[in-house]
Amino acid sequence: MNGAGRPRPQGGIDLMAWIFMRVSGVVLLLMVLLHLAIMHIINNIEVINYHFVAARYATPFWRTFDLVMLWLAFIHGLNGVRVMIDDYVSSRGWRLLSLASLYVLGFIFLALGSLVILTFNPARPF
């Protein structure tokens, strides 16, 4: 009897992805709910501005936190979309096209997000 989620794959990359979804899910639950509590309950959009972020990113702690959260959330979401493409796109051509677009767009967005977190420097704008 399988569980509530996707049946556990037998092995290979699919099993790795299945395990990753569950492990990253638990870590993300803690990180994202903390992120929401800090940004949307303790603070809010009225006080979040350039100086707020600059103060937050003055020390490496929140940069590291945000980078780990970005990678986990992004790969978790990317794999979710991959699973849905597998489920709903049955023609070979469309599947190839949609998966290729997903990975190309995914690479661009993840690279942009990482670049911003790692290189932000108030003294040196783009």
């Binding site: 009897m1 569950r22 809010n44 959330a73 979710g80 849905m84 911003v116």
Partner: protein, 124 residues
């Protein structure tokens, strides 16, 4: 072809609706993550560009969207825990409906006060 409901109904009941909601909230949160990467990237162009970008999120429509997004994240997180429990503890399959109602109740207990607090700006 036939009834439109056939496109939305697989087996019905709690098991299917929790699964469908998990997919919908997952897609929604992922799409917002893409937008969030772009809005955060604006910080590289300095205070005026970033502050103008943040001003968009102060629009009442986005502030309502913020609450809906938080609800989507919370549901996805709680239902994810339910999925993991059932995956790694097969006996709990028998209690899957109760687990779904536990997700609904936990969601309501956290979301209702948080949403009221987040919407307080409306009456200020």
């Amino acid at each position: 072809m036939g009834k439109i409901s056939k496109y939305f109904t697989y087996r019905g009941h709690e098991g299917q609706w929790s699964w469908l909601l998990h997919r919908i909230t997952g897609i929604g949160v992922f799409l917002f993550l893409l937008a969030h990467i772009v809005d955060t990237a604006m910080i590289g162009w300095g205070p005026s560009v970033y502050n103008e970008t943040m001003a968009i999120y102060r629009h009442p429509l986005f502030r309502v969207g913020e609450v809906i997004l938080s609800g989507a994240v919370l549901y996805h997180a709680l239902n994810g825990v339910r999925i993991i429990i059932i995956d790694f503890w097969p006996e709990s399959t028998l209690a899957q409906k109760k687990l779904f109602y536990a997700v609904v109740v936990t969601f309501a207990v956290i979301f209702v006060p948080a949403a009221i607090y987040m919407m307080a700006w409306m009456v200020k």
